[in-house]
Amino acid sequence: MTVKIKTTQKRASSIAGILPQVAVGLLLSILNASCTDTPRDSIFNPGGPAAARIAELGWEMIWIFTGYFLVTLLLLALALRGRKREKSPIGFRFVFVLGIALPTLILVKILISTLQLTLDLGSGKSELQIEITSHHWWFEVRYPGYPIIDANEIHIPVGKMIRFKLLSKAVVHSFWVPRLTGKRDMLPDHPTELRMTAGEPGIYHGTCTEYCAGPHALMAFKLIAHEPAEFEKWLRTRAEVPAVPVDPVVLKGRTVFEKACANCHAIRGLSEARVGPDLTYMGSRTTIGAGTVPNTKGNMAGWIANPQKIKPRNLMPRSYLPPEDLHSLLEYLESLK
């Protein structure tokens, strides 16, 4: 019995022996993994002035606190490894200076930066208002003054401050574009507001950040920033009602849509239902299912046949269309550009 215990103990201590190596190896790989290329949605890779200011504050705190962390650990090491003494050579004054006085100075400094930043982020005149309404696991987008109703893709002009008016249709959601600014909750009973400016043209990724059960993980959107002139053009073309197709297959697809989809989905000039996302310009959207999969014909076919497989628990039921109908519906949806 005792022998057995001894050997296990020996084994235990040999495991303990290699632990530091394992630790160093893993820590190195963490650094390696986090330092490769800039991640797509990193808050330290700002794409607009607000996120840049916040990242600046973040870096300021990271440097100060890393310093303080190391100093504290150093003091701890000195306390433990220093010369043995009868009485503690340090006392009240040490605790007061390092635990209260110095931190107070640092925190007041951070508080002032915070106040300044909060005031700055709240000021400035917005040049465009966009209304976002969150639904069970997707976002509806409206541009006041235009008949455009879109879903999960938001188009904005570069360099202009946009004011988002946020509201939820059901539970609490949250609206976040990491590279542009912080997030804001979307409440069902009161509208909230969020301002942001995109620094350069391109695609910015956004998500719902307040847990909303079901496929909360798959509730995303894209924010597409255009040059102002291009954005004006985009607004003008999107305000138009899509033309009635001439191609017979596409035309048949339109009929299929009216029969199979129009109870829930709207297409301007065809149906007004507002249960699911508006599909007026579905063909130009880049994803299906609020950012779940790319908008390809194959994915769309899979989505229509069994949406639960691609985005579990979403509210769209599966449909049982004959292959030809499905084919023409796909053609029709693709044509909506």
């Binding site: 996120a51 340090i90 040490f94 912080g182 909750d185 009973d189």
Partner: protein
């Protein structure tokens, strides 16, 4: 253990024998149920909490397994949502707080020189409620209806529209656990205030006892709003009220306010006792008095106080006005200062002491490293604009795991190793304990440091899947591998403790040469704890024993192995710990268990939607509790007279001397907090409504509410009469006063019910009508309880079995009158809030 045996060989003292039997818990299943003593109950709390902890760790592994790879399909969204909800709920509600309470129930009497806690039956009741509550939450798995709204259960997601039966399991289980927590809190506070050893003035209290005193008070003010919130939400779900129904004037944010008013203090309720453990370990291993005792104490108090002004920093992104919200940033910084003070006080204490790196001390070092890290990122998330970015991302997940594991679990493990001799009478196996520590420490950092990066790179929390496009694939895999290491380390540690408990080396009385009172007892302590109340003259009584000339020794010697025919412990005064009385403590009884079963039956009936049955069960529970309270202590007359003659202090007590009076104060504190929460809800709903009453409901009012409230004022006359009757020793006047109070009280209840029955709208019409009914119904319910108390007192007075100035009768009078006055106050307040204030504003 050796010490007790040795002593029993030396001399067999029949008194000690009898005394030991008096205090030991009965055996067998019936005995198990009937146990009320603080140490078995405290251990049960800790063991149960650690079992829940292990389950939650297993669920954490499932979470990390799912997130190890992008687009992993190990768990679907439903399974994942249920698992992370139960992981968080278990860790916070079923592990952290109950573990702290268990440790406190076990240790506090030993550290302050008491033989038991103030309300032994209440601790048994609390334990059973906690166990039943936890099992209720987990029973949801059997029905395939696992709660999935997160441990925060935000409305409306957790409301009747968007979530299923699982949430009912969660809410009802949680309510039971909260009641248990509140009971333990009152217990801990009163024990610390009244049961300290003679001479242990408040400035000689170990800091961990201070920490417990502070969190006891905090629990009363923090758990009550949560209990209120869970009850309101359950009413929304089961009885159709509309507090959180946004379509009918309810609010989506009201829950968040109530929840975080609990939720933030909760963190410090967990953290403060952990710092107490750290202080204990630091002072023992440095063999030195803690530096800056008063500063640490101030830090504990400030943390406790300020923690109630922080709740909105969890709601920075909710779109509330910016500048007022910055107040919460500033308040959060105060906490950082308080924590910093403690850290540097510990470093100063350790300076130049060359402590031995034993396992408890290793855990404290681990605490320093991890908690500092989590503390600094805590300041970052408290900075509002930065929080707008990282809120609800893995950055926050990393932060709070640093704070909760580094700041609480590590100190708890330090404590378990440190007090193992007292808990089990044995020592742990040092090598395995060290191995467990190092693996857990490394595992922790590998799991949670990468999460800071994962979060900053934009990965949200509570997501069951993520895309490889985020660029966090490698980091997630590393984190998951770290989680395996962490779980392995924790398993090694807990298994080692479990095995050492039975097979470890027999522990000496004071292996660490520590200075506090618990180390003056054998390991493990005998069933009665202290054979006589220890006399204390110093913060470290074991390092500096009380001088033999201290006059307090006389009373201490008189109480050696006494009282012999009932359980009793010395009561001292709140500040200086001068002996005041001897408190009777009840022995083994099954009543708390039966009461807890009745409450469980009520909860299960609500789950099954059989509301009549729930009502019956609740009535049964109240009946059982009434019987429990009414039962008289069994005190042997002969010994009572003999001891009374020898002691300079009374054997029974009333007023602020007795634990019972303080207990009543605690109960009133809880009810007042709950009522305050209701009034807050009333005005909060009003503030965010376009019209009040909402939706053009008719305003109830007229003369009848005035008529109903006036008996409350008239009843004051009765209270005045009975008070005078007692002061002037005129039993007739006393009985008349009590009867008058009861008469007007009954009038209030009957009138109140009649008026509520004739309100021109139903409770489910809008949030306004719901809060109107509850605010007016609440005092009625209290009045019924108060009438029960008054009636019982009247019966005692009329039966004339007790002497007129008998302390127990006086206490009944004081408590029932106090409770009635409080009820009358709430009745009048409800009238002012619901009838008068709408006309004023």
């Amino acid at each position: 253990m050796t010490t007790t045996q040795d002593r029993s060989h030396d001399k067999i003292d029949p008194a000690e024998q009898r005394f030991s039997e008096l205090w030991s818990s009965p055996t067998g299943l019936k005995g198990f149920i009937a146990t009320v003593n603080n140490r078995p109950i405290g251990k049960r709390y800790m063991v149960t909490a650690l079992i829940f902890f292990s389950i939650a760790v297993a669920m954490a592994l499932l979470i990390r397994a799912q997130l190890a790879f992008p687009r992993n399909d190990l768990l679907g969204p439903d399974a994942y949502n249920g698992v992370f909800t139960m992981h968080g709920s278990t860790m916070l509600y079923l592990f952290a707080v109950p573990f702290i309470e268990g440790l406190g129930l076990y240790l506090i009497p030993l550290m302050i020189g008491a033989r038991d806690v103030a309300f032994p039956r209440l601790s048994s009741f609390g334990y059973w409620l906690y166990l039943f509550g936890g099992v209720t939450m987990y029973a949801s798995f059997l029905f395939g209806q696992v709660p999935d709204a997160g441990w925060t259960a935000y409305t409306p997601l957790s409301g009747p529209k968007y979530s299923g039966l699982g949430l009912d399991f969660w809410l009802l289980g949680l309510s039971m656990v909260e009641i248990a927590g509140l009971g333990a809190a009152v217990e801990i506070v009163v024990t610390i205030l009244k049961f300290r050893a003679p001479g242990m003035a408040i400035h000689r209290m170990p800091l961990i006892v201070w920490a417990y005193l502070i969190i006891g008070v905090m629990i009363i003010f923090a758990f009550t709003p949560l209990l209120l919130g869970t009850m309101l939400l359950e009413m929304d779900r089961s009885f159709g009220t509309r507090f959180f129904d946004v379509d009918r004037g309810g609010s989506s944010l009201l829950w968040q306010h109530l929840f975080w008013f609990f939720g933030h203090p909760e963190v410090y309720i967990i953290f403060l006792p952990a710092t107490g453990v750290v202080t204990s370990v630091v002072e023992t291993f440095s063999r030195r008095r803690v530096v800056a005792y008063k500063l640490i104490l101030a830090a504990l108090m400030i943390t406790g106080f300020v923690s109630f002004g922080l709740w909105s920093h969890h709601m920075f992104t909710a779109g509330l006005p910016d500048l007022p919200m910055l107040f919460f940033t500033a308040a959060s910084f105060m906490i950082a200062l308080a924590s910093g003070t403690q850290i540097f006080a510990w470093i100063a204490t350790l300076w130049g002491t060359r402590p031995r790196f034993s396992v408890p001390f290793l855990y404290v070092l681990g605490f320093f490293f991890i908690f500092l890290n989590g503390g600094f990122t805590g300041v970052m998330v408290a900075t509002m604009p930065f929080d707008w970015q990282v809120h609800d991302t893995h950055f926050v997940v990393a932060h709070f795991h640093h704070v909760l594991i580094g700041g609480a679990v590590f100190p708890f493990l330090a404590g378990l190793h440190y007090w193992m001799p007292k808990l089990t009478g044995r020592m742990f196996n040092d090598r395995f304990a060290k191995l467990g520590f190092w693996v857990a420490f490394l595992g922790f950092n590998i799991t949670f440091v990468p999460m800071y990066f994962i979060g900053a790179f934009g990965m949200r929390r509570r997501v069951y899947t993520y895309s490889e496009d985020l660029g966090v694939t490698d980091l997630n895999l590393i984190s998951s591998l770290g989680a395996i290491l962490l779980a392995f380390g924790l398993a090694t540690t807990l298994l080692n403790l479990l095995i050492s408990m039975r097979k470890g080396r027999v522990a000496p009385q004071n292996p660490w040469e520590a200075g506090t009172l618990e180390w003056s007892l054998p390991s493990p302590p005998p069933s009665y704890g202290f054979e006589k109340p220890p006399v204390v003259e110093d913060l470290y009584p074991e390092w500096k024993r009380a001088s033999l000339e201290n006059p307090l020794h006389t009373i201490s010697e008189t109480l050696k192995f006494r009282p012999l025919s009932w359980r009793g412990t010395l009561v001292t005064d709140v500040t200086d710990a001068r002996p005041q009385a001897v408190q009777y403590l009840p022995g083994p009884t099954r009543i708390p268990f039966v009461a807890a079963v009745a409450l469980l039956a009520a909860a299960v009936s609500v789950l099954a939607k059989t509301y009549i049955l729930a009502l019956v069960a609740a009535l049964c529970a109240s009946g059982i509790i009434a019987r429990w309270l009414y039962r008289d202590p069994q005190i042997a007359e002969e010994e009572f007279r003999e001891l009374s003659a020898r002691l300079k202090v009374p054997l029974s007590s009333s007023g602020s001397v007795s634990a019972g009076w303080w207990g009543m104060l605690g109960l009133i504190g809880i009810i007042a907090t709950a009522y305050g929460g209701l009034v807050y809800a009333y005005y909060y709903l009003w503030l965010y409504s376009e019209s009040w009453p909402q939706f053009g409901l008719p305003e109830p009012g007229g003369l009848s509410p005035v008529l109903v409230t006036s008996p409350l004022i008239l009843s004051l006359f009765g209270v005045w009469m009975s008070k005078r009757g007692r002061a002037a020793t005129r039993p007739g006047m006393l009985s008349f006063g009590l009867t008058t109070t009861c008469f007007f009280g009954t009038l209030f209840v009957l009138g109140g019910i009649l008026v509520l029955a004739r309100v021109p709208f139903g409770i489910d019409e809008s949030a306004y009508s719901s809060i109107y009914y509850i605010l007016n119904g609440f005092p009625l319910l209290l009045a019924i309880v108060a009438l029960g108390l008054l009636g019982a007192t009247l019966r005692r007075v009329l039966s004339r079995k007790e002497a007129f100035n008998e302390a127990r009768l006086v206490l009944w009078l004081q408590n029932s009158e106090l409770f009635w006055l409080f009820t009358a106050l709430l009745g009048v307040l409800s009238y002012l809030v619901t009838q008068v204030s709408p006309h004023l504003i």
